[in-house]
């Protein structure tokens, strides 16, 4: 019964989204307000309907309805309640449904919040949002149903019965037994509850529980700016309206995507047991590419707001951000690319590929059409090579090239070689480190220089003057880094450019506050609050830069100075690594965890200068289907001692093989991530409305420009 309700919810949501697409399109052609309102109502309705479907699946998971094949795949009777809930996005079908919920949710929120201000864009916004939703709702309902159930059918009287998953009840089918007593003499020896798979053990981690929803929110969130950009192109309202309507949506999507990437890295570090957090795996890259293009867009859109430039370019960026989301979804969900965590092979590859292609082609065609009509002409040309515009364009070049090289490495080259060279060539880690490191270096340099450049044009001398203080402080920082042990020219250069970017960010915040203190006689804290309140995006942006800087410090430290050793130790045996001693004390075999898994745990002491500094317990978790090696970690500001129990005497624990990593400064990656999130939140927060007279003063041609004039800007 539950499954039928779920299917009905999904079918209604699909119907509503199709209706909304058509009605909104007709309303645009016929200028019919009545049709538009009707389309909007249908579009709004999709969210509660999708929520209903997800609620039904959740109930089925909690109530252990193993006849539903999805429930059978991702849970078993020993699964605790918490993981039953998170199993909602634990595998393909459920995560697609979850994707639909978030997509309809974003459409719902944007149609409610932007309805009045952006009325002219609304018809096509609904068209594109609902077309995308209809596609994913259709896939989920018809091809990857989370509500398919197992049925027993008899193909022919002479043949044994078959158990298969079907969405509709086949004629003459019966439900398989839920539980069979041992020794039962019927056809079935075991019931569904006894054979259920259970959630993949690797996914039982807090990072994995919130990482997928965050990523989906990030992916799906880019639908909003995409739909507005397409609506601007389709409707001809090519002012900055669509940008103003979507800049916060873009930031929110970017926030979730960043959070998803960081949590994914943390999960890999804590669970996958290879001592790292980023492996250039195709699935990771599929999420990283939209982040890169989206970051380029967040920057270049500022230029359009300030100077009316790069209009065509911005359209391309916003469309390709969502296009990258669709491509990544297609590549990871269809099993196109071999990857350590790729979803199962499935039939949805072709439709998803076509949908990606159609959306991208429509987008590009609309841009070229409007451009051909001269409607995307820039209002200013480039005035000088050191202007802020030019540096922002260079920043865009860096991000887009990064996106392209990552795409080429993970998808382009393998597909190209298979198609045209009759062999498969993959590009390994060496490719990524060689190609991306110089590009990331360029990113940090621009991050340090661009905020100091003025709009319009700037001379070398003025730039030199502005750089004196930050460069001097950077030099001090590099000397400190050298004293702390950084020796090679490469890492010192790396730390130099990363520090410069960070110092410039702090310096700019300080200059803003300083100007405020002079003009308004405010104290430093009040001045800081005021500038952050008045121009959240600018100063929030600097906080984001600081986050990226701190991540950079962590990445350089943990890649350039990582130490690694594998040693077999007897009891009280010690391994020496990077100034630490790691002592194997004892082994606890066969410990039973709450959910019934068995754990073999090593007791390990970390010593420094002969003094014990930490007790850690690396362990191996044994699940019926697989074993998972969970590291023991001693974390300090200097870095982690990361110990894996990778082998042991299984009878008495007399020896253990420890795989030990020392990862210097690695925690800066997580702290930087946190700061980045805070900065993005500041940027995305609703601006205080400026007093009336300031607003009037700031109003220039084409309506109110972003923000309020700031001292020192």
């Amino acid at each position: 019964m539950l499954a039928e309700i779920g299917i009905v919810f999904q079918a209604l949501a699909l119907a509503a989204s199709i209706y909304a697409t058509i009605a909104a399109f007709l309303s645009a052609r016929r200028h019919s307000e009545r049709l538009l309102v009707s389309a909007r109502s249908a579009a709004l309705l999709t969210f509660p309907l999708m929520l209903g479907a997800a609620g039904v699946l959740l109930m089925a998971l909690i109530n252990q309805q193993y006849q539903i094949s999805y429930v059978w795949q991702v849970t078993d009777p020993s699964t605790p309640l918490f993981y039953r809930v998170t199993a909602l996005w634990g595998s393909q079908q459920g995560s697609l449904l979850f994707w639909n919920v978030t997509m309809s949710g974003f459409a719902f929120a944007s149609l409610l919040l932007n309805w009045r201000e952006n009325h002219r864009l609304m018809p096509y916004v609904i068209v594109f949002q609902m077309a995308a939703l209809a596609f994913f709702a259709g896939i989920s309902l018809l091809m990857e149903s989370p509500f398919a159930r197992y049925w027993v059918t008899q193909p022919a009287p002479s043949l044994p019965p078959v158990v298969e998953a079907h969405m509709f009840i086949p004629t003459g089918a019966e439900a398989p037994p839920m539980f069979v007593q041992p020794g039962g003499d019927g056809f079935f020896q075991q019931g569904l509850a006894q054979t259920a798979n259970g959630l993949n053990p690797l996914l039982r981690h807090f990072g994995m529980i919130i990482h997928p929803p965050m990523l989906y929110l990030g992916f799906v969130g880019f639908l909003v700016p995409f739909a507005y950009a397409m609506a601007a192109l389709a409707s001809g309202d090519l002012t900055t309206n669509w940008i103003k309507a979507t800049r916060r949506w873009t930031l929110i999507a970017w926030l979730f995507l960043s959070l998803g990437l960081i949590l994914g890295g943390r999960w890999a570090y804590d669970v996958l047991g290879w001592g790292g957090y980023w492996g250039w795996d195709p699935v990771e890259n599929a999420a990283f590419i939209p982040w890169l293009v989206g970051t380029a867009f967040l920057h270049s859109v500022l230029i359009q707001e300030k100077r009316g430039m790069l209009k065509t370019w911005n359209m391309f960026l916003v469309i390709f951000t969502f296009s990258a989301v669709l491509f990544g979804t297609f590549a990871t969900r269809s099993g196109l690319i071999e990857s350590v965590h790729s979803f199962a092979q499935s039939a949805i590859g072709m439709p998803m590929f076509l949908f990606w292609l159609i959306m991208t082609v429509i987008g590009v065609w609309l841009i070229m059409w409007r451009r051909g009509r001269g409607e995307l002409r820039d209002e200013h040309g480039f005035a000088g090579w050191l202007s802020r515009e030019t540096l922002f364009v260079l920043n865009n070049v860096v991000f887009v090239v990064l996106a392209l090289v990552v795409f080429w490495g993970s998808f382009g080259m393998p597909i190209f070689s298979v198609t045209f060279m009759d062999t498969e060539i993959t590009l390994g880690a060496a490719y990524y480190s060689l190609v991306t490191v110089p590009l990331f270096a360029a990113m940090y340099i621009l991050m340090g220089v661009a905020p100091l450049a003025a709009w319009g044009a700037m001379t070398m001398r003025r730039m030199g003057k502005a750089l004196v203080v930050p460069l001097a402080l950077t030099a001090v920082g590099v000397v400190i880094a050298a004293l702390l042990g950084a020796r090679s020219a490469g890492t010192l250069f790396g730390y130099g450019i990363v520090l410069l970017a960070g110092i410039v960010a702090v310096y700019e915040i300080y200059r803003g506050a300083r100007a405020r203190m002079v003009t308004s006689k405010e104290s430093l804290p009040v001045a800081l609050l005021t500038i952050f309140g008045r121009n959240r995006r600018r100063y929030g942006g600097f906080i984001v830069h600081l986050g990226i800087v701190i991540i950079g410090i962590g990445v350089i430290g943990s890649t350039a100075y990582q130490l690694e050793t594998i040693q077999q130790l007897g009891r009280t045996g010690e391994a020496q690594i990077g100034g630490y001693s790691v002592r194997y004390d004892s082994l606890e075999l066969g410990q039973i965890a709450e959910d019934g898994r068995l754990m073999d745990i090593a007791n390990v002491t970390v010593l420094r200068d002969g003094q014990p500094v930490a007790q850690i317990r690396p362990r191996v978790d044994h699940y019926p289907s697989m074993a998972v090696t969970i590291p023991g970690v001693h974390s300090t500001i200097e870095g982690d001692v990361y110990v894996l129990l990778s082998g042991y005497n299984e009878i008495d624990g007399s020896t253990a093989t420890l795989h030990i990593y020392v990862n210097p400064l690695i925690n800066f990656v997580w702290w930087g991530g946190l700061i980045l999130i805070v900065g993005t939140l500041i940027s995305a927060w609703k601006d205080e409305r400026a007093p009336e007279r300031v607003r009037t003063a700031a109003t220039t041609r084409g309506g109110m420009q972003w923000g309020v004039p700031q001292a020192g800007q």
Partner: protein, 175 residues
């Protein structure tokens, strides 16, 4: 605001300056493009790995000594692990091309007596949990003159786990 000061007045007198600026942008653009292409090509030379089958490694001399990626099915009986020296040795068999690697392909591969076999050696690594009979090993390394494939990076997959589909084992006693 600063932009008022730095705005250039539009006028015909400025035309040659603009074209000189244009030239600067053009040259800058070409230099950047060149640098990027150079980066990508050198990156591809360093990182490119042919992803080939066991048959090709063993029988095609072109691949000898080259770093390649190979996929093969693991024979469980052949796995030897020396914990003291951290050396793993095992034999993989050829997986036929042109199909997705499933539990069934792996089962067929290890039970095919005519399939090409290759001895594999991994050093400095502990035995992964997933290294077992009928696992798919994806190995990066070189095929030596000693007829052994020396692995620098080992990935393992067991596609038979977490398969989607009918719970077939319900009818098999004691599974």
């Amino acid at each position: 605001m600063a932009q008022a000061v730095w705005e250039k007045p539009a006028g015909e007198a400025q035309a040659p300056v603009v074209s000189r600026e244009r030239l600067k942008f053009l040259i800058g653009g070409i230099l950047i493009l060149g640098a990027i292409l150079y980066l990508i090509f050198s990156g591809m030379q360093a990182g490119a790995r042919f992803f080939i089958t066991v048959d090709e490694v063993v029988n095609d001399a072109n691949y000898a000594g080259q770093t390649v990626r190979v996929s093969g099915a693991v024979l469980g009986d052949t796995i030897r692990y020396d914990e003291a020296t951290l050396t793993i040795e095992f034999t993989v068999v050829h997986i036929p091309e042109g199909q997705d690697v499933t539990g069934e392909t792996l089962f067929n591969a290890v039970n095919d007596p005519n399939a090409t076999q290759m001895r594999v050696r991994v050093e400095g690594q502990t035995k992964p949990d997933l290294l077992r009979h009928e696992a798919q090993a994806i190995m990066t390394g070189t095929y030596g003159a000693d007829g052994v494939f020396h692995v620098s990076e080992l990935n393992l997959k067991c596609p038979s786990r977490f398969i989607e589909g009918a719970p077939g084992e319900m009818t098999e006693a004691g599974s």
